[in-house]
């Protein structure tokens, strides 16, 4: 075998939207926004922390000198690991170009897989969603895929978290109404992990918070950033911006202001406690100027999210991305198109923790069928990103010579050895011949997905949480319920 020299290999496709120079320019522009225009911070404690860190505070307006941003970028860890919530197994490594996929959280509505009706999400619907997520191999983490609305609303976050941990052992990205909800959820996690320190060492949960565009940090968001830093737990901070509405209509302007919002959150977090795990987020998209929706399927959304991933890589920050979602009001061709584009673009760009798989209706509704379908799309995208291996074994010149013109390779050992790993075999995507497809009932992808989802709901058993842990979690939920009743 010849020895090669100076051989450069793309072990995966090389993909980027922005060049390093463009990333640098956008970073510098975001720093200029923070230094010149500033952000408003609606939390006194956060303003104190920022002032101490060297920011200029004027009422609720805080201007952040570039040096403070630079310092935060240096102190933040470049990698965060999330674990299985039962075993503590370190499954999800948010670093480099690793792309993991999971669901989105608080949709007000969900499609009932049995009636096909769009209805308000409930504790039961969230439990079912988590079961389905747990059963699907290409989904790596969980968000609730629904707001629990059949319990007292003020403490629905505790119920939502309980529904999740009872039904899946995958890592959880959790929302909470405020820091009190957060505190209860963290307490549940500490019980599951077996202690404060254990949870910090092998976190299986990350908190979720978002600023309000343009350039505002509400009390809830700022206080969550501070609490996460104090607890030493990872936090996702994710501006949801819409071009032409809450950010400029130009893509570069969206990236600049969105990044400024993220970086100001980072500064609050790192100024509270240097080295706290922080995951940069962002759902960057356009406002559809006809319907005014926040689009989850536009090509600009894909461009922006991939550009943001380039920025995250440039900054070496773990990133929370978005994919597998749609503006369509039902799971149809459009939903398939939008999910395929966003998942393929995301897999190619490599943001780390990618949520909102399963969203339809511009994020207002969730569909378990769509989730099961996207499980296959993620599989396809992952195959694509594994790229083409080129070496003597895969070039197979000797096999080609052996078979020669006009032959076939079906019964070769070489084929047997490679066909399953070189090719992705989907589970719901159909490749039957027409006649076999007719015979098996001429089903559409949606119908097959619906069958699969119902099968999981009825027959799949997630790893059970130990009885005593279940009881302790229940106790916290009940405690919060009593507090609400009292007030």
């Amino acid at each position: 075998m010849p020895v090669k020299s100076n051989y450069v290999e793309n072990t995966s496709p090389m993909f980027s939207i922005l060049s390093p120079s463009q990333c640098e320019e956008i970073l510098l522009a975001a720093q200029e926004v923070l230094e010149r225009t500033g952000v408003t911070v609606h939390d006194e404690e956060a303003r104190d922390i920022l002032k101490k860190a060297g920011c200029w505070v004027d009422g609720i307006l805080v201007r952040i000198p570039s040096a403070v941003v630079d310092r935060a970028l240096r102190s933040v860890p470049k990698r965060v690991t999330l674990c299985n919530n039962r075993t503590g197994s370190r499954d999800v490594h948010l670093e480099g170009y690793n792309a993991y996929f999971g669901t989105g959280s608080d949709t007000p509505f969900t499609i009932d897989p049995y009636t096909g009706k769009r209805q308000r999400s409930t504790k039961k619907s969230v439990s079912n969603a988590c079961k389905v997520i747990d059963a699907l191999p290409n989904l790596d983490f969980v968000m609730s895929l629904g707001i629990v609305q059949d319990v007292p609303l003020l403490i629905s976050d505790r119920h939502q978290f309980e529904a999740q941990v009872l039904n899946t052992s995958k890592p959880i990205v959790t929302t909470a109404h405020d820091i009190y909800g957060f505190a209860d959820i963290i307490e549940m996690c500490e019980i599951m992990a077996g202690g404060v320190e254990e949870l910090r060492r092998n976190p299986f949960m990350t908190l979720y918070a978002e600023p309000i565009s343009p350039l505002q940090h509400a009390w809830e968001a700022a206080s969550k950033l501070i609490l996460a830093a104090r607890k030493g737990l990872p936090v996702v901070y994710t501006p949801c911006v819409m071009a032409g509405g809450t950010v400029p209509a130009t893509m570069a302007g969206v990236l600049t202001q969105g990044l400024a919002e993220s970086l100001s959150g980072l500064v609050i977090n790192q100024s509270t406690r240097e080295g706290s795990p922080f995951i940069m987020g962002g759902v960057f998209t356009i406002m559809d100027m006809s319907s005014t929706i926040f689009s989850y399927g536009s090509p600009e959304f894909n461009l922006l999210m991939s550009s943001l991933a380039d920025l995250a890589h440039y900054l070496k920050l773990p990133m929370f991305g978005t994919a597998g979602c749609s503006d369509s009001n039902l799971v149809d061709e459009q939903a398939g198109i939008e999910a395929a584009l966003s998942i393929a673009m995301t897999a190619l760009s490599g943001p780390n923790l990618n949520h909102d798989v399963g969203y339809i209706e511009y994020g207002s509704t969730s569909s378990l069928e769509f989730l099961a379908i996207n499980n296959d799309v993620i599989g396809m995208a992952r195959r694509l990103v594994r790229g083409i291996k080129v070496n003597d074994e895969t070039l197979a010149l000797d096999i080609i010579h052996k078979i020669g013109p006009g032959g076939h390779f079906l019964s070769e050992d070489h084929t047997m050895k490679h066909f399953k790993t070189e090719t992705y075999y989907p589970s719901l995507i159909d490749r039957q011949r027409y006649e076999s497809w007719l015979e098996s009932g001429s089903k559409t992808l949606f119908e097959r997905a619906n069958e699969k989802v119902k099968d999981i709901i009825e027959n799949y058993e997630p790893d059970p949480l130990p009885k005593d842990v279940q009881q302790k979690i229940r106790a916290i939920v009940e405690r919060s319920e009593q507090k609400v009743v009292k007030s």
Binding site: T40, A249, A252, T256, E333, L384, D430
Partner: protein, 490 residues
């Protein structure tokens, strides 16, 4: 303001997204693999004329087996043009097959077609090609025509000629067309010359590309290779496209599948260049995987995109225009799967920078064509083109002054800057972004329903620009001549 990058040194811009499936070294390695296969293993050639051409060109010929010295193949790669400009039927130069320019279009010769009005899956008729050509003519993101199904209600051996006539009469876009054999190819070139105003005019500003398909691995039928020779003789560009699928007619590894595809394409290239140095050659490749469960050649698999992008990388490395695949599906109905597979392949093919991307009409693993799918693909291509446009980063688009003016808590909706730029957003026509209530009020339609309405509307109402009576008569005369010839053969 002095922030502008135009006064900054060493500033590099990604004007478009960058996708590279293989490094240059890997492309070279694959190409070397193909050269080694051609030199050592060789190819089986079933045409006497081709064997003679190869022998004279310096190949080692032993019966049907031809081995190609690498220097000859490398010479052929160098002698082929790196760019081919294709015109529309009015002689306007519209498709520049060079660099990473991307053009999308439908596919040829399906066994079945879906009737856009009844939904029935049936054999294609000449009237179906008429419909297809109208839809092609009307859709803005479809850049070239192919026949969208083998016409079965005409003299069987002339379905290529009839389909070509139907396309000439109903669209002015460039056409990539197949033919059974040399006689039919002559008919097709004659008809095209009639439209262009003579053979020389056609050669200078060709609006057709001939299409030929070999039978991998490394086997070239009389028809396939003779077409390559015929095209070169007539100085009309050809798409030479082996249909290579991993695990079946190529090893199960992707790299080896590329080797076979490149080697088979190069056989066609060498033949053409030996006949006429510098004749227009577009490297083809329907390249995918064989589904080992159903044995179909998959048109929806991730591997189709992966391999096509890989093959395009090698073609670009050789600086030969590339004919790739996208917008197709294994699904038997217009459903979510079709949306997924079409979008996935259109995106990756576009990012790969292949010049011609065909099969934006193929469903059921290519067995059936669907005009609805083509209409849907037109919308997907629109989205993908927006993505291919990338992100512009300059002072105007960074908009720092606008951000400062609006400040925390404001909004940009009524700002002049928004007014100036929001039209840069891609405007959907079939993709629906209505709010739930609005969508319900409009009848809760699926995308498939909206697509169907649009396709039917085009067929009913689109009026393609007509050619002159005299040209149409000339075309008809050529079809009549062909009919007489075929009747004689029987």
């Amino acid at each position: 303001m002095s922030r502008s990058q135009y006064v900054r040194a060493n500033y590099q811009v990604n004007a478009t997204p960058q996708l590279k499936m293989l490094s240059d070294d890997q492309c070279e390695n694959v190409l070397n693999g193909a050269l080694e296969v051609l030199e050592r293993t060789g190819a089986e050639i079933h045409s006497e004329e081709a064997l003679e051409i190869f022998r004279k060109g310096g190949c080692w010929v032993d019966g049907n087996m031809v081995c190609f010295p690498s220097h000859l193949v490398e010479w052929a790669i160098r002698s082929a043009p790196s760019r081919i400009v294709i015109s529309n039927q009015k002689g306007e130069r519209t498709m520049f097959l060079e660099g990473q320019n991307v053009y999308y279009g439908p596919g040829p010769t399906n066994t079945y077609t879906i009737d856009p009005f009844t939904g029935e899956r049936r054999r294609a008729k000449k009237s179906d090609t008429v419909r297809a050509a109208k839809v092609i003519d009307a859709l803005p993101n479809i850049s070239f025509a192919m026949d969208c199904g083998t016409v079965m209600d005409v003299t069987p051996t002339l379905s290529d000629v009839h389909a070509f006539q139907a396309m000439l009469e109903n669209t002015n876009k460039p056409i990539i067309h197949w033919g059974f054999g040399i006689d039919q190819y002559q008919d097709i070139i004659d008809m095209a010359a009639a439209v262009a105003g003579g053979l020389e005019a056609l050669q200078r500003d060709p609006f057709i590309l001939l299409y030929s398909e070999s039978s991998p691995p490394l086997r070239h039928s009389v028809e396939a290779i003779d077409k390559a020779i015929f095209a070169a003789k007539n100085n009309i560009p050809i798409v030479y496209t082996p249909c290579t699928f991993s695990g079946g007619v190529a090893p199960a590894t992707m790299a080896a599948t590329l080797v076979i595809a490149v080697a088979d394409s190069l056989v066609g290239l060498v033949a053409g260049q030996l006949v006429r140095k510098g004749s227009g050659f577009v490297m083809g490749g329907l390249i995918s995987t064989m589904d080992m469960s159903s044995t179909i050649l998959s048109y929806g698999a991730a591997e189709l995109s992966l391999l096509s992008a890989g093959l395009t990388a090698v073609a670009r490395y050789m600086k030969i225009p590339m004919f790739s695949t996208g917008g197709c599906s294994d699904s038997k109905v217009i459903d979510t799967q079709m949306g997924i597979e079409a979008a996935f392949s259109i995106l990756i093919a576009g990012l790969s920078g292949a010049n011609l991307i065909h099969d934006c009409s193929y469903m059921e693993y290519g067995a059936t064509s669907s005009l609805d799918l083509m209409t849907m693909d037109d919308e997907i291509i629109g989205m993908v083109k927006k993505i291919l446009g990338g992100v512009l980063v300059d002072d105007e688009h960074l908009a720092l002054d606008v951000i400062d003016k609006v400040g925390p808590g404001g909004h940009y909706l009524a700002d002049d800057h928004t007014m100036d730029h929001f039209r840069e957003f891609w405007a959907p026509t079939l993709i629906n972004r209505l709010r739930f209530d609005g969508w319900k009020a409009e009848g809760s339609k699926t995308m498939a329903q909206r697509v169907k309405e649009k396709t039917q509307d085009i067929i009913n109402n689109h009026k393609p620009e007509q050619k002159s009576e005299s040209v149409l008569k000339e075309i008809q005369a050529i079809v009549d001549r062909a009919e007489a010839r075929e009747a004689n053969k029987r």
